[in-house]
Amino acid sequence: MLETRSLSKSFGPIQVTRNVSLKLEKGERRVILGPNGAGKTTLFNQLVGELRPDSGTIHLDGADVTALRVADRARRGLSRSYQKNTLFDGLTIAENLGLAAAVALGKGQGLWSDPLQSAEVRETVRDVAAQVDLAPHLDARVDAVSYGIRRQLEVGIALATRPKVILMDEPTSGVGPEMSKGFHRLLKALPRDLTILIIEHDMDLAFDVADTITVLNYGEVVFDGLPEAARGSSLLKDIYLGAWEDA
């Protein structure tokens, strides 16, 4: 569904992505682990097209999308959430989700009707709100709800495009352990055919949702395999006990 072949990217002398080759099958849930600064977010930026790789290719659903712009990749069913909230602050939660759905449905340039009133968009808003537990807050303005709810909206906006592949960048960063666990329950309830790539710092939670695990260290894939194998890997323990500790 989503595949990279020897993706590389440098910022000046620092190589932040080294020959990264990844492959996600349809419906696969892959968790990316790695210490701060390992290049996880930078990898996401390249996958969605916000950053150009220096070399390597990205394939989405069989097609080479390496040269496509952000919006074009989004229209092909790739969606992401951000590590730092990237919301429409002055709007309500329903409007945030509705806008995302409207744009994804190609109604973002229409002149003759209000997409927020369309049955399709309203249905998407309702469904996504249920998926990420936002239903009680739909009419609240984003700047009037708690950080945890904004964090859920961050993922909700990405889901509202009805993507084939969704990338989530530390969706539970900054929220408490309870909310974090709750979020993982929501994650597991998402449709099984949705392909998910998720960056997660918490190992236990990561193992909880992952079909497969990728570990990045200094921009390089140092582990790619099943969670059970990752758990036993001494390499992972080294990173985990080393640089990871202060994460």
Binding site: V48, E50, V70, A71, D72, A74, R75, S79, R80, K84, N85, T86, L87, F88, D89, G90, L91, T92, E95, G98, L99, A100, A102, V103, A104, K107, G108, Q109, G110, L111, W112, S113, D114, P115, L116, A140, D143, A144, V145, S146, Y147, I149, R150, I157, T161, S173, G174
Partner: protein
């Protein structure tokens, strides 16, 4: 997102009633002032659409108005078109020009966007000013008023013309409000809040900005046609950046991003201008002081002040938890 709150609807109804009443009773000078308000109101509706809702602060709206006014005059005088086709042609030209400006400036935001629009505006100004075809400094006269004698309406009569101008304000408002409720309008507001996210969601940002700017340009062109018909004379001063600046002052005075507010602003501005300039030649300074007071009050213009005042009287929804965005 744009909505018609009860306060907005009430204000619109009040403005319409006041304008119609005034149009019925006013003498010649009053009717001239009414037409002047109408022209400014259309221009500020156009500007609020992109600046207030889309965050695209433009300093070329005067030029778009001027291009409409000149195109109308030239089309009627030299191409021999009657007023209606000349208007359509003029508005089409303003629309196309605005689309190009919007498309080119779409990449820039904030101060750079303002400067880029200013540059376009100045280019249009100097083109009209320098070209021997358009009368240079002297401008052009002879712009016709539409001939509605078939309907029994004589637009050379200032009362009829004022009513016609008010009708065009209503039309401009309807176009702007419909745009804001369309998919494009929703995206426009979204762009103002978070352009990066909308792009990530799949929006072709430049096209949305350019289309919104084009619709705004169409309304500015309409204001230009009306201005040409009103005075039946056009001069390069219409394209001057100070016209754009004045429109921006009126939008801020009335209330950015409220659509109703700027109309109120236009009413206040024109009345103040005439009242104060009768007393002192320094009326610009007085208007400046008022603008400073409005900006310092931290309210969103006169209308924003009314809106927050009214909202404060209603029970506030409980703010849930403390904000903790990292």
């Amino acid at each position: 997102m744009f909505t018609h709150t009860p306060l907005r609807l009430a204000t619109l109804a009040l403005l319409a009633a006041a304008a119609l009443t005034y149009a019925a009773v006013a003498g010649f000078f009053g009717l001239e002032i009414l037409a002047e308000i109408a022209i400014l109101a259309i221009l500020v509706i156009a500007l609020d659409l992109v600046a207030g809702f889309g965050g695209m602060v433009s300093l070329c709206h005067g030029a778009l108005l001027g291009v409409g006014a000149y195109a109308f005059t030239v089309a009627a005088n030299d191409a021999g078109l009657t007023a209606l086709p000349a208007m359509i042609l003029a508005i089409a030209l303003s629309t196309a020009l605005a689309f190009v400006i919007g498309a080119v400036c779409a990449r820039s935001t904030g101060i750079y966007f303002i400067m880029a629009t200013l540059a376009f505006g100045q280019m249009a100004y100097s083109f009209v000013f320098q070209s021997p075809l358009y009368g240079g400094d002297d401008g052009l006269s002879g712009a016709p008023r539409p001939d509605l004698s078939a309907l029994g309406i004589d637009l050379t009569d200032s009362r009829a013309f004022a009513l016609y101008a008010l009708l065009l304000v209503a039309l401009a408002y309807a176009v702007a409000a419909a745009t804001l409720r369309s998919g494009l309008g929703r995206s426009l507001v979204g762009l103002h809040h978070n352009e990066k996210r909308l792009r990530a969601l799949g929006l072709t940002v430049w096209r949305a900005k350019a289309t919104a700017f084009a619709i705004s340009g169409a309304l500015a062109g309409l204001a230009g046609c009306l201005a040409a018909q009103h005075t039946q004379y056009v001069s390069p001063g219409l394209l001057s950046w100070t016209v754009s600046g004045e429109a921006l002052v009126v939008v801020i005075l009335g209330g950015l991003g409220t659509l109703v507010g700027p109309i109120l602003g236009a009413v206040l501005f024109v009345i103040l201008k005439h009242e104060i300039s009768a007393l002192t030649p320094y009326w610009h300074a007085i208007v400046g002081l008022i603008l400073i007071a409005v900006v310092m009050s931290r309210a969103n213009g006169v209308f924003g002040f009314l809106e927050t005042r009214l909202a404060a009287r209603k029970p506030q929804p409980q703010v849930k938890e403390a904000k903790a965005d990292a």
